[in-house]
Symmetry: C2
């Protein structure tokens, strides 16, 4: 079940997404938070800004958290404004993060079934602000979006 | 089936792994190669060197390849000296890379079952040089190795 804290941290993830959009990037944000509410790392998608094929929002948040001992991930929650792709899902499973809170999965449905199969708790807030920002971006720049999810550019 | 080219490119992945070891890092290397034999990206694990939780060898190779259109991945082969973890497997699936050549999976067995389930061709060379380098490292620095795969440090 979503808590007030979940909505608070999703707002921070959305701030990251907005920062990405303002930089001309893909507006997806993420925050890694300990069970005591400490922000361990936050970040946003850097494909455009850094010419990066791997710095999705979740990967950026994990990267910005730096090197952590395994136990630090084991009671953490990762917030992401958009349902995580297979790479980000794999990273969540690698570090044994037990709880994922998602802004929305209407724009893109990632590997939530893998998370569920491994016993990770997945909470979808179906947040209109997360959805609205992504929808605006996808309409504005479908080529950049498709590239980010490994798809060929489609006619619009 | 492994080809002469596969052995040639695994040698380059192993050079990357050795470079990582010489830098004081975790000795895993990777190369992304097009179907015409063009090296699109190469790299090695950077956990120690960059304090990075996400720059595994395969992620480094993808990152160093930069932004590529989807079609560039679709006939490529990724070489990695060690069986890919869930994160790297997820990245391979994200970009639809159809073929993975692995140095060895005795030190660590990654998510090869996910690759197979998605129709990705997985070839294990069971290379003694890849295995020997990793075994030496794991014995020397088990803490760094366990941290990299999201495990608690174990007594040795």
């Amino acid at each position: 079940m979503a808590t007030d804290d979940d909505r608070k941290f999703m707002k921070i993830a959305l701030e990251e997404a907005q920062k990405g959009y303002d930089e001309g990037g893909i507006p997806i944000g993420s925050v890694l938070v300990s069970s005591t509410g400490e922000i361990l790392g936050r970040g946003h998608n850097m494909r455009i800004q850094k010419g990066s094929a791997t710095l999705h929002a979740e990967i950026s948040a994990l990267e910005n958290a730096g090197r952590l001992p395994a136990m630090r991930y084991r009671d953490a929650t990762i917030y992401t404004t958009l349902s995580p792709c297979t790479m980000c899902t794999g990273a969540i499973l690698l570090y044994g993060i037990p709880r994922v809170v998602i802004g929305e999965n209407r724009t893109f449905l990632g590997a939530e079934d893998w998370l569920a199969a491994k016993g990770v708790q997945v909470i979808n807030l179906d947040d209109e602000s997360c959805y609205g920002l992504m929808q605006m971006f996808v309409k504005e720049r479908p080529g950049d979006w498709n590239e980010d999810i490994g798809e060929e550019a489609k006619a619009v």
